[in-house]
Amino acid sequence: MNRKIAVIGGGAAGLEASSALTSLGFRVVLVEKEDETGGHIKNWHALFPNRRPGVEVLDALRSKLGSDVELFSGKTVTEIKPVNDRFELSSADGWKTEADAVLLTTGFSLFNARKKEEYGYGIYDNVITSAELESAFSTGKIAMKSGEQPKRIGFVHCVGSRDEKVGNIYCSKVCCVTAVKQAIEIKQYLPDCEVFCFYMDMRMFGRHYEELYKEAQEKYYIQFIRGRLSESTEDHTGKIILKVEDTLLGKPLKIGVDMLVLMVGMEPAEITKNLGTQLGLVSDSDRFLVSTDQHISANISEIPGLFFAGTCTGPKNIADTLADARSAALAIAGYFDNNHNKS
């Protein structure tokens, strides 16, 4: 058949879908907006729940790409036009291609922590995001702005998730377990550092997540406090002062930490929103794209020949993203085999 599929986005879903599609006999054009593939994984030092290096998974995904995948990096697709059962694609810099089907794997963006103004990100020196902590793990240097090692760190869960005030009522799924993973890693780097996690609920839904949570408490003595942060400020010594309500004790709590880590959630990527608008695709109140049926055709859009995979349809962990990508490849194969445009 050797039909050509355009895969938009070279993160985990795009890479996995591309290799799955080539193994099914399709030619693939993989278009990535950045200079290299890998999406968010390339910035992630270690993955939950087993703390394996992110690069290990990324290398495996990249190595599966065969010669039937034509990669275009540094190209942001701005228009996808359905024309006579095919699609014309173009990017901002004038690049164009055509394809028999399109798979959107445009992924997510991290929540902009500045929107939670009361947490002081971008204002107080030692308030950082989970993504920035992950970069610090890559360099092996966990330090405050002053260069000193922190003696007490707080993690705030659900930053930009389950929060009506910022317009995101959904759970981003991966932040709880990421906080547990990062808290353990802190204890491994800095055994004398006290670590506090402020959470709403611990949503340890995946395999081995609960064990990781238990390990964090029993082996690393990480303190989990149920309660949301109301505000953070900086005192004259540079310490971050947190005001939290401990909702199990029903008491307000004031605590000083040397560093505050905000567990930023997922939002639809800008390119997902832009292409969704341009194509007239339906998005939900959470702004992620909507497939024709959430259960039985989760990869199929309202536009014949246009498919979804990965986090453009909502928060997912890596394993679920990869499974979704393979599922999308099968859905595309099924589209050509059974429903449309047989050759």
Binding site: R114, E117, E118, G122, I123, Y124, T233, E234, D235, H236
Partner: protein, 358 residues
């Protein structure tokens, strides 16, 4: 601390503030607490800036304190506010300027309610018409009086006789700014700078040469909190709130506190005396307190107005250490003289808080 980060937040929260022709609604309590402040405001607008400001003797309380204390129902409050708007309309004005933070918050709340629920506005119009025969137009622009001084802060700086600078060292004065809760905590986009890092007073302080202190309990209530003080049994909460703020700001060695709410300067000023009597503790250097001012008083000082003309003698925490630091000329002997020069006597000095210059 990253100043640039705050600037980004401030850019998000800019509001439109009318340029001229204001209908001015005074506060119920400010003329008792800090009697010179509203006079300074009207003087600056009229005499310094040449603006048109209408000061009506017919307006009443907005009922804000009663409303927030659950003593006055919202329908009554809306009707009273509708009457204030009717007075503005009848006087031919469209820009409403509120002296009080709680009034400003209440007007904002009512206008937002009417915007989203036109039937509630219709009801308020009906109540007002039946009760008084009056009708009104919605203000084109609603501002708190501190918004207006903020808008003209550079014009005031151009006319300044003094700056918020230590005359001996040339260094900026270290200033605590305290924003009234009802300014922007309910509707962040209605306040200059938003709710978390309000800029309205910071902008004035920076324009007049001072430096703002960001201390941990910056956002905390001054201690008034309406029910905390009005319900007598709760007054322990009131003074505890103020103490929490003083303890938090003390390590920064502030030269002064500036506020934009009727209650805040009252409580931050008077509770310093009460705390000194209860605990023997003062928060300034050498037994002094931290002087507390309204933004109009500070604008007046910057413009060179006589401290006793603008009412600084009624402060519990003496302003003199700050006046001396800024190099302001004043006559210490006139502090306790009445408007016609008559001697009003001298108050008894507190036990610990330094009150008279040695």
């Amino acid at each position: 601390m990253k100043h640039e980060g705050k600037k980004l937040v401030w850019q998000e929260y800019q509001k439109e503030i009318a340029d001229d022709h204001f209908f001015y609604a005074r506060s119920c309590i400010r003329q008792t607490f800090f009697p010179g402040s509203e006079k300074v405001f009207t003087k600056i607008l009229k005499d310094e800036l040449g603006k048109d400001i209408y000061d009506s003797e017919h307006h009443t309380s907005c009922t804000g304190i009663g409303y927030h204390a659950d003593a006055v129902p919202f329908e009554t409050t809306m009707t009273v506010v509708a009457r204030q708007f009717a007075l503005m309309t009848e006087a031919g004005y469209e820009n409403y300027a509120a002296s009080c933070i709680t009034s400003f918050g209440l007007y904002t709340e009512i206008l937002e309610t009417w915007h989203h629920f036109p039937e509630v506005e219709a009801k308020a119009r009906e109540f007002l018409y039946k009760a008084t025969g009056r009708e009104f137009k919605i203000p084109k622009n609603l501002a708190h009086a501190s918004d207006i001084i903020y808008k003209f802060r550079y014009e005031i700086a151009k006319r300044a006789k003094y700056r918020l600078v230590d005359k001996n060292t040339g260094k900026p004065l270290r200033v605590v700014e305290h924003i009234g809760c009802h300014y922007s905590k309910m509707f962040p986009h209605k306040g200059v700078g938003g709710a978390e890092y309000p800029y309205v007073l910071t902008g004035m302080i920076e324009a007049w040469g001072g430096e703002v202190i960001d201390y941990p309990e910056r956002r905390h209530c001054c201690g008034f909190g309406f029910r905390q003080y009005i319900v007598q049994a709760n007054r322990g909460y009131s003074i505890a709130c103020s103490k929490k703020k003083f303890d938090s700001m003390e390590p920064y060695e502030p030269d002064m506190i500036i506020t934009n709410c009727p209650g805040c300067p009252m409580f931050l000023d008077r509770w310093q005396y009460a705390l000194s009597e209860m605990e023997g503790k003062t928060y300034g250097k050498n037994g002094n307190g931290i002087p507390v001012f309204t933004y109009e008083e500070v604008a007046g000082l910057v413009l060179g107005y006589d401290p006793w003309e603008i009412g600084l003698q009624v402060h519990q925490v003496p302003a003199e250490p700050l006046l001396d630091k800024m190099g302001i000329e004043y006559d210490p002997g006139s502090k306790f003289k009445g408007p016609n020069g008559e001697d009003l006597g001298r108050p008894i000095a507190p036990s610990y808080l330094k009150f008279y210059k040695e």
